[in-house]
Symmetry: C2
């Protein structure tokens, strides 16, 4: 049976790629209010694609972007719940793309293999379609799915999943499952698959500092009026100390070391600075001094400034002291750090450093707690076997530096563990110009999910 | 004779205001390459206005914006050289203006007097026209000017006057004069005129920091890759210490106290924090701790960040570590600080703080040395008398926080001192939205120049 399904996937590959390209063409940028109707179109596209396969699928309005659900009953347990997101990152700066971000193009990776280039090709349109295409192949080659499958797709993952929690809460019965599945993570390398068993949390906030009630001439007011850019720079610079440790009081109090099994895996794989940073033109890790690279990028919390703007930023000069300046801040958190507690610490830290005559505003944009996956979960064993079958080697168990808010929502609201199996590669340039997804990852990812579904049924 | 000239100015005021409005309508923003042809139009407008009065006027091409010269010989000495600039600051953010920046409107000041609102209304279109209109009135009411007048107008003052030095050097004979005059400074208050006898210099540079060869996902690379926004923030924050002193090594070495006569004047006038900062919504000076307000804003060097940008600055969030970040820096300098020497110090200061894996570029945008005007110069005595006649009180001798590069060029290339007499007010909002020029300043400024020209002739 599984051989028929796999053969079907291979035969159907060109059509599957065409479907992915159709999906990428819809510029569903959730952060951009002007792309709001495109997000609706992407949701509708997905709903129809699932209906075509035979799923009973629905598009649900929310206070934000629509949510799509689909289900197809089968022989019963185990019931799997697959989650993905149809929204994508903004494409700017658009001029740095080699081809237009929403006109998918076939490219080549460093090894000469074919890639699909376009915003969302990997994150998460290409990845989520590996699961959808696996279901399609099962349905067409075997006349049905081997297990009960429910799917849940949201359109606000890139902006903090503001309405997902309430939706899950309101649809508990419909979403009930034995295990949740996500395909939004990376392989170890292009030959070695990986399973993510620890996820960092995320705290995102925008800090705005304001001083005078208007822009001032720096010749007249320089030395008199507070400069909000300088105040902002001083505050954000102070968040890390000279050893690159985060200087918020008590910040590391709740940090717990990563599980031993995961750390052992990492040590065995020998991540090198050259392998991680070389391709992006860097040579020295910027994290906490005295920690090794794996800790710095996977198991320790981090702080980054994702954007900053203030005053005159056009060509040439303008001698002003601006009225305000703002920065987008983000912290990656690890177990058992609490984003709400750290947000309060950040607020006090900023308040203590804002001089008289300045006001500040700290707008929370994301509060995702860190999450861990039980290394002994049965689905993990099934996934390891499926990956071994398809890729010919044992998958690596990893901690992920990124954050997937839905994992803690599933645990809290549905009481279900999440298995994170993804086929992205580190050079996919997600969130950057020229995002791509390797065709081989798309094909073998689809085949892996097909094997997983088959093995789930026993 | 002078009474006829003054009467003529008053009678001609509505026509003079209409001419100023025409001039403001030309959006001659020198910093914006898209406004290049508008700068040429402003130069042509000025040349024609001067020809109409009877000046022999010319428009000179340069490698940048055109320069306009005009001359009208008279009974000989003294020869005065008037300098002004027809270029204006960018109008952005345009949405903060009450009326469109290049459609001049009549407004009201706090005391109910009429104002002309528009970009350049004060800086420097309105101010330079006070001199031009004074010449017009002399020519029409008295059939000629009482002294030899040469005028020089450039279009790159707001962007560093890159081509002015060479032009002056190439036109020494044509520009030869006994004294230079500039109308680009402020009154003490709306009732009390001022003469500027000390000007701060200006060093402007753009600092760009680069790290990775592309934008990175902060979940994958956070703790691994250097964040150029953080590096930039750390460097610019370090330029001032905890006492708001500039931390560049040797920065204060060449600072000389202001002339006694000037300092005495200031003490007498009793500048208050409330008067300077109250109207812009501030209450505490931000300058060097331990110095009084006058020192902070007039006689001591200052540092400001005029703009900063890096990473994602749109709506919502984007979890990236950007490839680069940049800030526009400016230092106001006082005698005898050397901008070139300080630029080199800044470069070393930055280089020492850029971590491994980051590169930086420091682009010089302006290097204007500070300047002083001889308090005993004969033209100063004439100006004091003219101001006393028109305004009914002694003018205040002040140091200006702003920088007028041409003053040191005139001294160095033509060997001539510059007399700075202006009719701007502190609430004119130059370089900011809703820039305005009081109608009373325009009228009485014109009358003051008419008196000055008459008194010059003896």
């Amino acid at each position: 049976m599984i051989d028929d399904v796999l053969a079907r996937i291979d035969r159907d590959l060109p059509a599957a790629v065409a479907r992915l390209c159709d999906f990428i063409r819809i510029p569903s940028v959730s952060a951009d209010p002007a792309r709001s109707s495109d997000c609706v179109s992407a949701a509708a596209w997905l709903r129809e694609a699932l209906a075509e396969i035979g799923f009973s699928s629905r598009l649900h309005e929310t206070a934000g972007k629509p949510i799509v659900t689909a289900s197809m009953p089968s022989r019963g347990r185990p019931r799997v719940l697959f989650y993905g997101h149809y929204d994508v990152q903004p494409a700017d700066p658009a001029n740095l793309w080699c081809s237009p971000p929403f006109e998918p193009a076939i490219g080549r990776n460093a090894a000469g293999g074919e890639t699909i280039v376009g915003r969302g090709s990997a994150d998460d349109k290409g990845q989520l379609l590996t699961f959808v295409e696996a279901c399609r192949a099962w349905r067409q080659a075997a006349d049905g799915l081997p297990v009960d499958v429910t799917m849940l797709f949201e359109g606000e993952e890139e902006t903090g999943s503001a309405h997902l929690g309430k939706f899950i809460e309101d649809h508990r019965a419909e979403l009930a499952a034995d295990v949740a599945l996500i395909c939004d993570t990376n392989m170890w390398d292009s030959a070695t698959p990986a399973l993510v068993v620890a996820l960092r949390g995320l705290l995102q906030a925008e800090l705005m500092v304001e001083a005078a009630n208007r822009d001032l001439h720096s010749g007249v007011y320089g030395g008199g009026a507070e400069n909000p850019i300088h105040v902002l720079a001083r505050i954000v610079a102070a968040i890390k100390d000279g050893n690159n440790r985060i200087a918020l009081p008590g910040f590391y109090e709740d940090v717990r070391p990563a599980p031993d099994a995961v750390r052992r895996q990492w040590s065995r794989m020998g991540l090198t600075v050259e392998a991680l940073l070389g391709p992006v033109g860097l040579a020295q890790p910027s994290g906490e001094r005295g920690r090794d690279l794996v800790d710095q990028v996977q198991f320790r919390p981090t702080f980054d400034i994702n954007g900053i703007v203030g005053g005159y930023t056009g060509e040439g000069t303008k001698t002003i002291i601006p009225a305000r300046a703002a920065a987008k801040l983000s912290f990656r958190l690890v177990a058992d750090q609490d984003p709400v507690k750290i947000m309060r610490t950040l607020e006090s830290f900023v308040a203590a450093r804002v001089p008289f005559d300045c006001r500040f505003r700290l707008d929370v944009q994301d509060l995702t707690p860190p999450a861990e996956v039980d290394a002994e979960a049965p689905a993990l064993a099934v996934a390891r076997a499926a990956l071994q079958d398809e890729w010919g080697c044992e998958p690596v168990l990893v901690g992920s530096g990124g954050s997937i808010p839905v994992v803690s929502l599933f645990k809290r609201l549905l009481g279900v563990d999440t298995m994170l199996m993804g086929f992205g590669l580190d050079d996919d340039r997600i969130h950057a110009p020229d995002e791509k997804y390797d065709l081989a990852c798309f094909r073998k990812g689809t085949r892996t999910w097909a094997r997983f579904l088959g093995r789930c049924a026993g």
